[in-house]
Amino acid sequence: MRSAVWKLVWVGLATAVLGAAIGFYIAVYLRGSPPTVSYLPAASSGPAQTNVTLQTVASVGNGPHPDWVSYFAQNPQGKWVHGTILKVPAHSLIHVTVDQFDGSSGLRNPFFGQPQGIVGGTMTVNGKPLRVLNPDLASHTFAIPDLGVSVPLKGVGDNAPNQCSVAPCPLSKTHNTITFTFRSGAPGTYRWQCFVPCAAGFIFGFGGPMQTLGYMDGFLEVV
């Protein structure tokens, strides 16, 4: 009888361990995702538009990948969040401001030097309108292929003084400010990504942060 009890104990223990392992696998690993930043406006706020503020940094500085480039999003309360899932309202004008702190890597495909899918076809760089960017000066792009949006972001020169190296970067450091507007259409979830091979040290510059949600890739949730 004692051996029967022992067997029951071992089997129970093994089942519990297995169940915990599966639970960990699903809940912690598979369901893990970067935080969502919501830009949904309050109920009555005039014409359908909203403001989104992002910044790109050369290295995050902390966390599991301190050396990776990344986007950061500023939530409506003004706090910088290391998240790339942006929630915006449908059928609205989205005014995007990107504070670009990273150096230039150059576009692999110079096709992206011309911003597309944005209102007026023109982006504003440091206050001046620009219809096309020299591909070698691009540091990142903000592109939503399913909406036809793609905007190259001008990089900070390599020799510029006072460069920011650890996120989140304050506006006192050298940066370029790029603004543009696009129209969010029907509700849905759209991916966005960067098209500049900016992942330092990875083959073709497209590994690491370029393939990880929360760094150079994200979702635009249009609700």
Binding site: N109, P145, P197, I203
Partner: protein, 285 residues
């Protein structure tokens, strides 16, 4: 049904079996050719797709009777030769050289026949195959010299299309003219992708530094889906777009509009080439 069998019992079984198989096969082949056939992918939007659908019909029509032979044989045997009681042992059949020879001969004939037919179908006088055939395809359709070249550039994670004979304009939207031979030059800027426009009957791997050519001749106007068919990273499943087949005048209007739309970026592009070295290869620091 006695299992202590005489000479004619097996023959009776054989006749019954082959009758059942024959009837089912004829029925199945008729269904395959006339009912299933028109539904089989990839359809008839292009000459190549039509040829592939025809090939699918022929192969299915040949394979279904063979599959039926195995299934009906086993089904019949399971029903007819079940042991009835303790005395139910079958005759000591160990081998039958004639059956083996007939089987081997017929499978060789079917298989070689299909291989020869398949090779013949690849010839350009037939429909050719719509798949990517490398930088120097040996099976080129008639009029390949005058084909409209369209470069399909796959990169992580987007398809763009370049028209070298229209000023080298690059566009995110693919449009091809109907009733005109088009040569897709598929290449990649980074990892291996695969340009898969199934309604056109085209699947061609986009490999860096390689010019993979696939010919297409569209019969009808319409739209088609383009997907990436080779795992290429995070957004592989999102490398999805829609292409257009336009009539000749519509295509001329479209290309003019596109050239105007992308005028700025065309200045930035390097000269047209069948492949582009991904630069930079590895970014340091």
């Amino acid at each position: 049904m006695s299992m202590v069998s005489g000479r004619d019992e097996p023959r009776g079984h054989a006749i019954r079996l082959f009758t059942i198989w024959g009837v089912l096969s004829v029925l199945a082949v008729v269904l395959v050719i006339w009912v299933l056939g028109p539904q089989l992918p990839p359809g008839s939007m292009t000459v190549q797709a039509h040829g592939q659908t025809g090939a699918n019909i022929v192969l299915t029509a040949v394979c279904v009777p063979i599959a039926l032979l195995v299934v009906v044989f086993f089904g019949y045997s399971l029903v007819a030769f079940r042991s009835r009681g303790l005395a139910g042992d079958g005759p000591p059949i160990h081998t039958n050289g004639r059956v083996m020879m007939i089987w081997l001969a017929s499978t060789v004939v079917i298989v070689l026949g299909l291989a020869i037919w398949g090779s013949w179908e690849l010839l350009p006088e037939q429909t050719g195959a719509g798949g990517g055939a490398g930088p120097a395809p040996i099976y080129k359709p008639a009029g390949a010299r005058a084909a409209l070249p369209i470069q399909v550039i796959g990169e992580q994670w987007l398809w763009t299309f370049r028209y070298p004979t229209y000023g080298g304009v690059e566009s995110q939207q693919l449009a091809i003219p109907a009733h005109r031979l088009v040569a897709f030059h598929v290449t990649s800027l980074d990892v291996t992708h695969s340009f898969w426009a199934y309604k056109l009957g085209v699947k061609a791997d986009a490999v860096p530094n390689v010019d993979n050519i696939a010919y297409v001749d569209a019969n009808d106007t319409g739209t088609f889906t383009i997907r990436c068919a080779e795992l290429c990273g995070l957004w592989h499943g999102h490398m999805y777009t829609t292409g257009l087949v336009l009539g000749p005048s519509q295509f001329a209007a479209w290309i003019t509009k596109t050239r105007k739309q992308y005028a700025f970026s065309t200045h930035l592009l390097p000269p047209f080439s069948t492949h582009y070295f991904p630069q930079p290869q590895r970014r340091a620091g």
